[in-house]
């Protein structure tokens, strides 16, 4: 049963990765990568129970933290063009191809 759940999570990760590679806009890619990261956390948690080594849950927790911080950092990079602007003075958005 745990194997079936981990296979379902793997299929979802493949689909999210395909959307991240295909995605027409940059925001589609970021959304797909965010989903991929959440699925990675779940996959690590399921694998921890599958192998009986529940210490792996620490890694899942750290991965959840890194995923959130990474997505917010990439969004800031896409939105303002750098990591250090305050947000008020650089209101000009980055040009996005909407193809």
């Amino acid at each position: 049963m745990l194997i079936a759940v981990s296979l379902a999570i793997l299929v979802t990760m493949w689909l999210a990765l395909a959307r991240a590679l295909m995605g027409p806009t940059v925001y589609d890619r970021i959304a797909a990568i965010n989903m991929f990261g959440t699925k990675t956390v779940l996959l690590i948690a399921v694998l921890a129970f599958l192998s009986g080594r529940t210490d792996l849950l620490d890694i899942a927790l750290v991965y959840a933290l890194i995923n959130f911080v990474g997505v917010v950092a990439v969004l800031r990079l896409v939105e303002y063009g750098d990591f250090h602007s305050s947000g008020e003075d650089s209101t000009k958005p980055v040009k996005v191809d909407q193809g």
């Binding site: 379902a8 999570i9 959307r19 925001y27 959304a31 965010n34 989903m35 948690a45 399921v46 959130f68």
Partner: protein, 106 residues
């Protein structure tokens, strides 16, 4: 026994929702409607799988760690979705509206 069955139901429905969301991000046509499919897998699928694993674990340290992951995902994944949609709107990505709706508005 009953707890086992409940946990399998939670785990399997979580996996099913994950695959449904994965199909959804390929079949929806627009970024903002794709966010709906991403939202399904980020919240309900993750919650159900973590709940099922927690029922398997019983009262132990593993259940506490699962609860920590649960709380963290519960707080951060809606925040990330909101930040993403906000950044897309700020970046000038327009939602694809129905033609009838746009005629009604104009």
């Amino acid at each position: 026994m009953i707890i086992d069955i409940l946990s399998w139901i939670c785990l399997l429905s979580g996996g099913l929702l994950g695959v449904v969301g994965g199909i959804g991000i390929h079949r929806f046509s627009d970024f903002y409607s794709r966010q709906h499919a991403v939202g399904i897998t980020d919240t309900l699928c993750a919650m159900l799988i973590l709940l099922g694993l927690g029922l398997q674990a019983g009262m132990s340290l593993a259940a506490f760690k699962l609860a920590l992951i649960f709380i963290f995902l519960f707080l951060t994944s809606p925040t990330a979705s909101h930040a993403l949609a906000n950044a897309a709107m700020h970046g000038g990505l327009k939602p694809k509206l129905d033609s009838v709706t746009s005629e009604d508005k104009s």
